[in-house]
């Protein structure tokens, strides 16, 4: 199929170039069909093949011949390149060149699509074809040509599925503007961004987008089988384009992994546009097998001259500043193939500088060249037409003075489809040298220098240095000199036409006072030693460069690559023997004194007295307390996103898609003895998203943090948040608790019908949302429901009874104490705050005795955080039930260990200190129910993830590393590099969870009343 496609493509493009068919109104039609030959060139056929002293012949936009012994046709126009270089011109695959500016719509439905005859979601726009939005933009084209680009693959960057792209030549042939469009359907583009052409609020998050993509592919398959009675032009387009290369814009390494996960489900190997931070998880990136398209917008150095301001720069930012220019090199070393895009640069002109930096940091020039030529051509499946220089291929090449990536090198010409574009004059006469300038009886000594096309001028009058400026273009020499010294503002302006190198330059001078007269500059005999001088200098330069490169401190990449990161993402469990400690087991045996615990293979192998194991690392637990790791039933740390609030049900989204392992909160939670969390969706809608149950393995990849064989959970929500009581436009259903009930009845009725259809064996449309709800009805997925007041708690239990399932957990459940007997009868557990209240109306009757009352009625009760701060001291929160309600210590402790484990259906694995369970343990300095306790060591699966002593060492190392990196930043500034101002950064707000939660609600800023 692919071959056939290429064949068609080839025929199509070939026919485009074969014959002129446009009439002309410009008089006699001129066709430049003569061959053009370039001789004595160094031709880089591709990144790996260079032919010295070679000839290139082109005709009618294509390469006719290339090589050392090429016969030059008699009618050829010949350019002798005198040792200049020829490279294939560059191709950019992530471009919106020539695309119409799409204005954001400001009216229309908020929850429905605004198109008719297309997919139900407006952000799915495969029917969008770049060619329909295209207008050649000469200004941008010129910038791109000057950077060496010959063609770009452009598309309308709007929507989650964005439709097809087109390959465009960056120069317009006035006689045949159609030649500009090389191929009008080269690839299909996707991206994690909403369309501006609709107000439809779903999807509003990254996890909504991954879910939407999955559903769209499922629907397309369903449509392809002819099962859908209506016409859907979007799905038809999607199906039509399924064999095109699929290119998705991800934007950072986590999204690269997310995109690839979606593709894997449908056997689609995306080419992925990354973010330049892929070096952070190179192994996972490699495992995607995806080809990448990468930006080179390396951040500028931070200006840290003000030591107070320097404190605001995080280690993460400094390390990224260092490693971003090394990203390509890191990926190349790992054997990952990539193309380079100029997309994120302010101007494509900055491309060379950025690539030079990458090369300085170790990137192989050949790989850089491939990434701009052959790789993009391959990604489009057009490597036989563009991207290298071979007979029959498009005559797209640049002529340079030297190595294309060399600082000193210039691009003189950029030929596109055989059309010449002069970028820089390459045949100006040599004017460098010393001159004596005479005008108005004045004598000034001047020296003109030319450094690869950049001219400079020094002038001395009576050994006094003058201010000077020079330009030499198209044989016109213009320069200015100050009248007296360099500080003078009196300017004399000189202008001369210099047709060829000569010993005398004559021209006109306009004096600072407006008078005009003539000047003569007579060349002095050049002294030989100048050249050697220069040589010395460059050698010196090189030497000093080498020196600085050697002196450079390069930070180590850690997991995550931020403060307190680990050196390995996957440490192996140790064999550990914890001796002579007090164990609060959380089991019936209660508290054991002077006991030992042996850990092997990540599990609790043996608990007893006087245990020994010669191979084990010994930890002295004398005067300390050992417990199971804390489990937080309700958490939003380690997430890139919390709410998909675009629909009142989002059962199809999953928090597993948005796990963020680079959150410092993970480390801080470990320091508070937390080993497991349930990462819950927010509470913006009655039916929220699926949970991710995580181990706080600091440094692990998102996938490795998620529980293996994780029990399935989903977040539900009731009350003020889903009613949007404290924000919103008051139009989204439901606005009352009465409406909330009906949302559930409606969805579960539909899920039931869906299940019946599915069970009947008849064909059915796979619906991710319904599948999830069906799992609930079948008792395969459990609900954790955000809830506050007794009426709504009771209501959901009745709805569950009606549909024959059990509500697993009510979370928050601050009025649970009012219906604890009913919860017990239904079989629901409660996970609550210890003492929060008064933040909104529905917590008016929230009491800190809630946990004790529920517990006393036999409800499995847990204390949760829902907060990046409180998660750090859940042991204290558990102890509050001893104050409020006089709970006994063992029961209080279970509320943050065994009980949440039960609620999460992982109590057979974790939650207590028991032989055979996973070695998720905490060694405390005091009884953890005491305010005076600190976690000294936190282990997960037998690996020590937090250790007070280690933390101390890391603080010291962090301080030193910061100092070294700040020194590097200062060096960069002093060497004249561009810098950026330091800005305080606190991306993940303390209450980030809250943020989404205008959205989530608990600690929303609405409560800030600003």
């Amino acid at each position: 199929m692919r071959k056939l496609f290429l064949l068609i493509l080839f025929c199509f493009s070939a026919s485009l170039w074969s014959q002129d068919y446009f009439p002309t109104n410009l008089g006699v039609k001129i066709t430049d069909s003569n061959p053009v030959a370039f001789t004595e060139a160094i031709i880089h056929v591709n990144a790996n093949e260079t032919i010295e002293n070679a000839t290139l012949v082109i005709q009618k936009g294509k390469i006719l011949a290339i090589g050392k012994s090429v016969e030059i046709p008699e009618n050829a126009i010949v350019f002798n390149l005198n040792g200049k270089h020829i490279y294939p011109s560059f191709i950019d695959l992530y471009s919106n060149f020539g695309m119409q500016d799409i204005k954001r719509v400001s009216s229309g439905a908020q929850y429905e699509a605004n198109r008719k005859g297309y997919y139900w979601n407006d952000h799915i726009r495969p029917e969008q074809h770049a060619v329909d939005y295209f207008n050649f933009d000469e200004k941008s084209a010129k910038n791109l040509r000057e950077a060496g680009f010959g063609m770009v693959n452009t598309h309308l960057q709007d929507g989650v599925i964005r439709g097809t792209s087109m390959l465009v030549a960056l120069t317009e042939d006035e006689s045949n503007t159609n030649k500009t469009i090389v191929n009008n359907k080269t690839a299909q583009y996707l991206g994690f961004s909403r369309s501006k052409q609709t107000r439809q609020s779903y999807p509003s998050s990254i996890m909504g987008m991954t879910a939407l993509l999955r559903q769209t592919y499922n629907d397309a398959n369903w449509y392809a089988k002819g099962n859908m009675s209506e016409k859907d032009l979007a799905l038809e387009a999607l199906l039509e384009q399924r064999n095109l290369p699929q290119i998705i814009h991800a934007g950072d390494y986590l999204n690269v992994l997310r995109a690839d996960n979606v593709g894997d489900l449908f056997n689609i190997q995306y080419t992925i546009v990354g973010g330049g931070d892929e070096y952070k998880r190179i192994n996972e990136i490699k495992a995607t097998n995806a080809r990448l398209i990468l930006p080179v917008n390396f951040p500028d150095a931070y200006d840290v001259e003000d030591p107070f301001m320097a404190n605001y720069v995080s280690l993460e930012e400094m390390k990224h500043w260092q490693h971003a220019p090394r990203n390509l090199q890191h990926l190349a070393e790992a054997g990952i193939e990539f193309a380079i895009t100029s997309a994120e640069l302010k101007s494509p002109k900055a491309l060379h500088k950025k690539i030079q930096i990458a090369i300085e940091k170790g990137l192989d020039e050949k790989i850089a060249l491939r990434a701009l030529t052959e790789v993009p051509a391959q990604i489009l499946g057009m490597e036989n037409q563009v991207g290298s220089l071979k007979n029959g291929m498009a005559a797209n090449f640049i002529i340079t003075s030297g190595n294309v990536f060399d600082k000193e090198s210039n691009i003189y010409e950029n030929w596109i489809q055989g059309k010449r574009n002069i970028i820089k004059d390459d045949d100006l006469p040599k004017i460098e040298g010393d001159y004596t300038l005479n005008f108005q009886n004045k004598k000034i000594e001047i020296n003109i220098k030319n450094k690869s096309g950049k001219y400079s001028l020094e002038a001395k009058k009576d050994s006094l240095k003058l201010g000077a400026k020079i330009a030499f273009e198209k044989n016109w020499l213009n320069f200015m000199l100050t009248e007296s010294d360099s500080a003078s503002t009196k300017m004399n302006r000189f202008s001369a036409y210099v047709p060829d190198a000569s010993t005398e330059i004559k021209g006109k001078v306009i004096l600072f006072n407006g008078d005009e007269t003539s000047f003569i500059a007579s060349k002095k005999e050049t002294e030989k030693n100048e050249k050697t001088d220069n040589l010395d200098k460059t050698e010196k330069d090189k030497a000093s460069e080498n020196k600085t490169e050697n002196d450079t401190y390069v930070s180590e990449i850690t997991f995550p690559n931020i403060a307190f990161g680990k050196t390995s993402p996957k440490p192996n469990p140790e064999r550990i023997l914890i001796k002579n400690t007090t164990i609060i087991t959380g089991e019936d045996v209660g508290t054991l004194k002077n006991a030992d615990v042996l850990l092997r293979d990540g599990k609790i192998y043996k608990i007893g007295r006087s245990l020994s194991d010669k191979k084990a690392k010994i930890i002295d637990g004398t005067d300390k307390f050992l417990t199971a790791g804390i489990i937080d039933e309700h958490s939003h740390i380690a997430a890139s996103s919390v709410n998909e609030g675009g629909h009142n049900s989002s059962a199809e989204v999953t928090m597993e898609d948005v796990v963020n392992p680079d959150d410092i909160s993970i480390y801080r939670a470990l320091a508070g003895g937390v080993t497991t969390t349930q990462l819950l969706h927010g509470s913006a809608n009655p039916i929220g998203g699926r949970s991710a149950i995580l181990k706080m393995k600091w440094g692990a990849s998102p996938k490795d943090m998620i529980y293996e064989d994780s029990p399935k959970f989903i977040k539900f929500a009731l009350g003020e948040n889903v009613k949007q009581s404290n924000w919103g436009s008051r139009t989204r259903f439901p606005q009352t608790r009465m409406g909330v009930e009906q949302v559930f009845i409606d969805y579960f009725s539909r899920a039931k019908a869906y299940g019946e259809l599915k069970a009947s064996g008849k064909p059915y449309r796979f619906d991710d949302e319904m599948e999830t709800l069906l799992e609930i009805l079948n008792g395969e997925r459990f609900i954790s429901c955000h809830s506050y007041v007794q009426s709504e708690i009771n209501m959901l239990m009745k709805v569950a009874d009606q549909f024959g399932f059990t509500v697993n957990t009510f979370t928050h459940i601050l009025e649970g104490y009012k219906v604890a007997d009913k919860m017990k009868a239904h079989g629901a557990g409660g996970s609550t705050f210890s003492d929060w209240w008064a933040y909104k109306y529905e917590v008016n009757d929230a009491i800190p005795y809630n946990a004790a009352l529920m517990h006393n009625e036999g409800v499995v009760t847990a204390i949760n955080s829902d907060d990046g701060e409180m998660i750090r001291r859940l042991n204290q929160e558990a102890a509050k039930s001893m104050k409020y309600g006089r709970m006994n210590a063992d029961d209080a402790w279970k509320m943050v260990t065994l009980n949440p484990a039960k609620l999460l259906h992982i109590d057979h694995r974790v939650g207590s200190v028991k032989e055979g369970k996973e070695a998720d343990l905490v060694l405390w300095t005091h009884n953890p129910l005491s305010i005076y306790a600190k976690a000294e060591k936190t282990l997960i699966g037998g690996v020590i993830y937090f250790d007070l002593e280690e933390d101390k060492k890391q603080r010291k190392a962090l301080k030193e590393e910061r100092a070294k990196l700040i020194a590097e930043l200062l060096k960069a500034k002093n060497s004249g590099m561009k810098t950026q101002a330091v800005v305080k950064k606190k991306e993940r707000e303390l209450h980030c969870n809250s943020m989404d939660s205008f959205l989530d609600g608990e600690f929303t800023e609405t409560q800030h009343h600003h």
Partner: protein
């Protein structure tokens, strides 16, 4: 707890008809507490103590072994194995100014405008707040009620937490003016954006200049009757004759230094730093300027990823060890309801290195000194107000903070609340079901 005596039920029915606990009447009889471990709040501990108070004032604070008292006319509380503490003080609080965060109608904490020294918190302080009464079972008996927002948010007052009305609640009226020092970085983007970032506030210097000129203008008007015609300027006058304190709220190192320069240039004497999340870095300058610190909430995450995970926990100790006079405050998200956790903030500081009695001072005598009410409250010393409580155990620890008695000016206050009432009601419901 299956059997509940009838009189408790009757009592419950009685109090449920009130919006709040009835304030206690004035102390009529001498009260003597015998046998408790007394934590004086000044760093001292008396094991087996005797504490007596009459007409609202402490008359005896001594060791029971050394002092025998005539208890014939007194109410005696035997408190062996129990602990006595001076009432905890919550400074820089908005207690009584907002009832429910998300209910706008219940919100009186932030007035419109930027320079509002004339705005006084005391007249809006709601003695009948359910949140206020919930402080007392944890030992928090005093608070500085402080307005929020603007550059100068207004004038605070110090109250005790058992009163019929704001006038009766006053411990110190209009004790100080609160200046929010400008921030170099301000939040950008939509408030609901999960990735809220910051941007440099280009108006920082301008805002600082505005503060300088407002204060200079106020100072120039000192002792001139015309000043009274200009309400904001008039309200500033007590700052310059040192009757009032200036509370400067700021956190960052450089911002604190800027504030100290401002203090010097204006010749201000009574200045308190509030917040001070990085105050440990400028401890020497704070000592040199004799500026005490009310340290930001201990139960908080560090500001920067690179900070020590325990920086907020240990910051009060770092400052104390450097010689700075330190108290604890807890402004921020859900600050009102969280004010009852004040003792546990102090307890957490102990876990991170401070001695227990020193940590206790952070919420008692140190705070009283900083607020300028230490002659009256803050420690168990003869002559001071009998504002104190008895706890079953260590009041800085959740496990021990269980109050049996609490007194404000010698008046034995109720330890019931809206929350304990609901607790008792539902406990009874379930007991009756069995």
């Amino acid at each position: 707890m299956k059997f509940i005596p009838l009189y408790i039920c009757a009592f419950l029915v009685g109090i449920l008809s009130y919006a709040q606990q009835t304030p206690a009447p004035a102390q009529s009889q001498e009260i003597i507490i015998i046998g408790a471990t007394a934590h004086l709040g000044n760093g001292e501990v008396i094991e087996n103590s005797v504490i007596a108070f009459k007409s609202g004032k402490l008359t005896v604070v001594a060791s029971a072994e050394e002092k025998n008292l005539d208890a014939s006319n007194a109410q005696v509380i035997y408190a062996e194995d129990k602990h006595v503490y001076p009432g905890f003080i919550a400074p820089n609080s908005t207690l009584g100014l907002v009832e429910i965060d998300a209910v706008r109608a219940s919100d009186d904490e932030d007035e419109v405008g930027s320079f509002l020294p004339h705005i006084r918190s005391i007249i809006a302080y709601n003695t009948e707040s359910k949140v206020v009464e919930s402080m007392r079972p944890n030992g928090v008996l005093l608070a500085q009620v402080t307005p929020r927002g603007g550059q100068i948010s207004g004038t605070s007052s110090i109250v005790q937490l058992d009163a019929w009305n704001w006038e009766d609640a006053i411990v110190k009226k209009d004790d100080g003016i609160h200046l929010n020092w400008p921030k170099r970085f301000v939040k950008k983007g939509a408030w609901y954006d999960p990735k809220v970032g910051y941007k440099a506030d280009e108006k920082y210097d301008e805002k600082v200049q505005e503060i300088y000129s407002f204060f200079k203008q106020a100072k120039a008007f000192a002792n001139q009757p015309e000043a009274l015609l200009n309400l904001p300027i008039g309200a500033m006058q007590k700052l310059f004759n040192e009757e009032q304190k200036l509370y400067i709220h700021t956190d960052a190192e450089k911002d604190i230094l800027d504030a100290l320069h401002f203090k010097s240039e204006l010749g201000l004497k009574n200045v308190v730093l509030v917040g001070g999340k990085y105050a440990h870095k400028v401890a020497d300058q704070l000592i040199e300027h004799q500026v005490p610190v009310l340290v930001a909430r201990v139960h908080e995450t560090p500001e920067a990823d690179d900070d020590d995970y325990d920086l907020p926990y240990k910051l009060p100790r770092l400052l104390h060890e450097a010689g700075v006079l330190v108290g604890l405050e807890n402004s921020g998200q859900m600050e009102r309801m969280n004010a009852r956790n004040l003792p546990f903030y102090a307890g957490t500081v102990v876990a991170h290195g401070l001695e227990k009695e020193e940590a206790l001072q952070l919420i008692t005598l140190n705070t009283a000194k900083i607020l300028g009410i230490d002659k009256q409250v803050g420690s168990l010393e003869v002559g001071k107000d009998a504002t104190l409580f008895i706890s079953e155990g260590d009041a800085l620890d959740m496990m021990g903070n269980i109050l049996t008695h609490a007194f404000i000016n010698g008046r034995e206050i109720s330890l019931e609340t809206h929350q304990t009432e609901l607790y008792e009601r539902y406990k009874k419901k379930y007991a009756e079901q069995k």
